[in-house]
Symmetry: D2
Subunit: 342 residues, 4 copies
């Protein structure tokens, strides 16, 4: 089958011819219908420090996808050939403390599709049956491929008290944009979206932000304090991973407020813990992945409710063969989610 | 001054001529601009068991109001003559365990305006300066008089996790209707409103309910289970006080879900605690009044955000002199909130 | 093999000769080393209303046990022949909403060993491999058989804020006694134990209760208020299932306090929801079983820590053949936990 | 009166002759019976960066104290001459958002006794009546002077789930030592105390630590992981303010665990947010002061319960005139709490 892989420890991505995956216990084979590009994929493409530390080539990458089950291992009973499924990309070991206490997304031996095992930028990908989330046949397949980033936003935002609070979101990539839409319909008093890219800030406005700030032009911390009678935002969602933005996030939150850290910084970050966290009695919570499967139930129900308009989120559709172009587009920042068809 | 009081221990209400209140320490005198009728007032009017146990005539009743500060005690520094204010009707003692730990709304020696001290169905009413919540001069005064019931809804609804849950609301009086509007814009997946009065169910639909059920016509428990794949509602807000509704609330909630009890039953209620609470591991929380002043900040901010359309809530406007008509209208159920002008 | 079963729909228990269980997928066969008697077993023995509604004879009963794995199904990889294990008696379906969100103990299709499937009052019992919790070979096997009731106490007590609170426990059966020991070493300011049986109250004192009350002799509600400056207990654990005790539990809790309901009443209970729950803004939580496996990790760690002295808890040891005597002893109340050896 | 003040912007402390404070509204005058030295006082003594930024000389310092009310302002009704009181050193403005929502300890215009207003290293000190916590006349006055640091420990420790968790405490100054005693009797599975000073580690062992680590000799992170099957501590209390310790705190916590930050670092701290917080989904909470007065009620009740043995905590008693010696002793680290008598 055709696939895209990191073959060599250097920047770029290569198309390869690979064997169709052979199934192990409790696995299913999925024919990829749509797959989308995540920031993680771009880290691997660029071959930055994080990627060098986590990826052992050769590796087929990609982990956001939906498709059709075309084969099941003999001990699989919960899924059948013909099922349409979206994938949860975090694979728990099933036996560690975290897995046995309902937190397999922070499994002590976690494997991630497209990072630790072969991924979805390919015609076929194999996954554990537990990681295959059934989707209605009539659902738009495009939406199915973005359940994962939407799930990140749901998990991150609902880890704080959104209702009745002023919300600030740093970073308007696909997860940040999803969070804008989500918090806007979840009782936030205001949703302020911050980025350095006007294309993305325009998307944020379309998705429900009550205010957008280009932090290259204005100091977001001063703006937020001025908008909240000097108090600061009740909830700050940091979804950029940018060092300056992380520092601003802590300065923007009010005393007793909550900072959710989701965006991954590429290196260590220096913080004024005294003034910006301790004296404020701030709550801080790291968020990764999605709760398996609490988050998925909420995502499914939110989509069914019709409350979320995710239409502006997908800005580009391409053939998987143009993956290199897609990566360059992600690098420019002038896009929302890019959906690829094998 | 003119006022309406429970003068005798029997049904009804009488207009009286009373002295203008004289201020004690830390009190302000408010000239009532608008006052509205609460279910509690109707209990006192009917002189039911609850009222007989709690009211010692003569008592000027009424506790939902807004008006202008026209006099302040000499030790008052936080409010001035000319301030427009809405009232928090719960007066904490300031020295008990609850008051000193931020819960003065459940003060061990709580006094309620219009119940334990004279109230707002009058030209003037005196209240502690702390209970006078300042409102903008340009704000519609009508809205100010309903900050209290809206506050009840905010306190009750935000005591549960609304976002990402199916919500069921029993009872579509003004507080229930406010909760319909509030939960609809706070991330509820669905909001099902239940009552036995079609007038009120129509109001609920206008205020954002995704479904209404007249429980005289259909079994609400069966409907809710059928709407949630047999699972039950994640959050149930009981705002009717009706015994049958309370029993249905416990049957309607899903395993692990939350029941908020706000409506006051007139007598003891029989519950199947085993099947409906223990085996379900349900969370139950009693709610009364508003958090002072956490709830008020949220109410103010929600109104500022423009997200809540409370327009359908006020269905009748009258002169205070027609209080007896207003009471009869409340008894019929064919009304939302009734606002009175002295 | 020899076993004890409810053979007929009437009071009593009969010894029978049964086939050794045959294993299905993901099951293991356990040779029972010790098994203990739970209140549920006594309900079934007496054949009360609850038992009549839940048990379909013939059924081998008993669900608290520990033993040795003597056979495993071919697809079992996590347990081996020779392992010593204790059993979690709640079997989740693995596919419902509750199971997939980390709450399999309140599975929508829950099966309980000794109630819905054959149990442990027998030489052998089969259970899913997931339900077999490994225990150290050198651990006293007697303790292993009481991990389940201790787990109930852990799950119930830690559902409330014990540290820094006055705690009241209604009901001094084995779970109540375990809760006495547990809360005493978990920062409770005081632990008041209530029962109508002096034998059990003496055990409660031995296990750490700071005060015991025989509620046939004194009004526990008055005592608790008098001991807490009129405020009431911060946390009340109701572990008796007795109707009067449940009513007292709600009257004993302070404003804003927490009532944990664990004991199963045999019929509906009448409550004064207004005064005892709503005006108090009480928190109420139903508790059943144990969190799988969060509770088990905590139980194991508590035992390892050496902080809990459970020594007084096991008051009787007998041969399983004397099950009828054991049941009569449970009925008298003059016992703690009774451990049986097949 | 005699007092000790920072008179000049340089290291050291000077004895001065000052006027007895004159009372304003709602203030009381306290004759200091005992006062103790806090790390903050030592920062001011040393005149480090933090002190230079926060202290405007001349300022009488000191804020941990107990004494007798000898005068009250005319509008004070809650306290009387002759009352024995301990002091809450955080003075809220009473009108900001934090004060009006039950969080006056993080008031937006907070003033601290001995920092922003004159303090207790003097014969007399004036404080708002609200900040005077009554203590029994017969209570040992020495204990009363350490209610504040004990309150810090209570507020910090109870902000996390201690019961059923392995607890690690970095920093064995008086607050850290109090936290050792507190968590040991609050259900912690283990309490590991870490410092670089053996004198203090010995005190920690006396106060209940199950293990002590001198982090100059052993790597505490490796030790903690080895003691918890590689998982990490469920709760980490950082009470040293040392940069290296703060970094170790984040590395020592397990996935999903909680880090409480209480110790104030003297400058910015660099953190690996990705690996040590985000991928772990750690909870982090800044803690300052005490909840007013929730914490005080708990402190009082804990002392009454007799569960806490704070006896080893006070290691030195001196005349206030020897303040300079006391400061040098704090600098050496070879002390617990030092109590001074004016």
């Amino acid at each position: 089958m055709k696939a895209f892989a990191k073959v060599r420890p250097q920047p770029g991505i290569e198309q390869i011819e690979a064997d169709r995956p052979r199934l192990g216990h409790h696995e299913v084979l999925v024919k990829v219908k749509v797959t989308s590009v995540c920031g993680t994929d771009y880290h691997i493409y660029k071959w930055d420090e994080w990627a060098q530390a986590h990826i052992k080539p050769p590796r087929i990458i990609g982990h956001e996808f939906a498709g059709e089950v075309v084969e099941t291992a003999s001990d699989v009973t919960s899924r059948q050939v013909g099922d349409m499924v979206a994938a949860e990309s975090h694979i728990g070991c099933g036996t560690c403390y975290q897995c046995r206490t309902g937190n397999s997304h922070i499994c002590e031996r976690l494997k991630i599709i497209g990072v630790d095992v072969d991924g979805s930028f390919a015609e076929y990908v194999k996954i554990p049956d537990q990681n295959a989330w059934p989707i209605p046949k009539q659902a738009p397949i495009e939406t199915a491929s973005i359940l994962e980033p939407l799930g990140n936003a749901v998990h991150a935002a609902f880890a704080a008290d959104i209702a009745g609070n002023d919300v600030t979101i740093f970073g308007c990539g696909p997860v940040g944009l999803s969070a804008v839409a989500l918090t806007s319909v979840s009782g936030a008093l205001s949703v302020t979206a911050i980025d350095i890219n006007d294309y993305r800030l325009n998307l944020a406005a379309k998705m429900g932000a009550s205010k957008t700030i280009n932090s290259k032009e204005k100091d977001p911390v001063a703006e937020i304090h001025s908008d909240t009678e000097g108090r600061g935002a009740g909830v700050v969602l940091e979804m950029s991973g940018n060092e300056l933005a992380i520092r601003q996030a802590f300065r923007a939150v009010r005393n007793g407020g909550t900072v959710i850290l989701f965006g991954l910084p590429s290196k260590e970050v220096q913080l004024n813990l005294g003034d910006d966290l301790i004296f404020k009695e701030a709550h801080v919570r790291g968020i990764v992945g999605r709760e398996i499967f609490n988050t998925w139930y909420k995502v499914e129900a939110l989509l069914k409710s019709g409350k979320l308009d995710l239409h502006p989120l997908i800005t580009h559709r391409m053939s998987l063969s143009r993956l290199d172009d897609a990566m360059k587009l992600v690098g420019s920042g002038d896009c929302g989610k890019i959906v690829l068809t094998p």
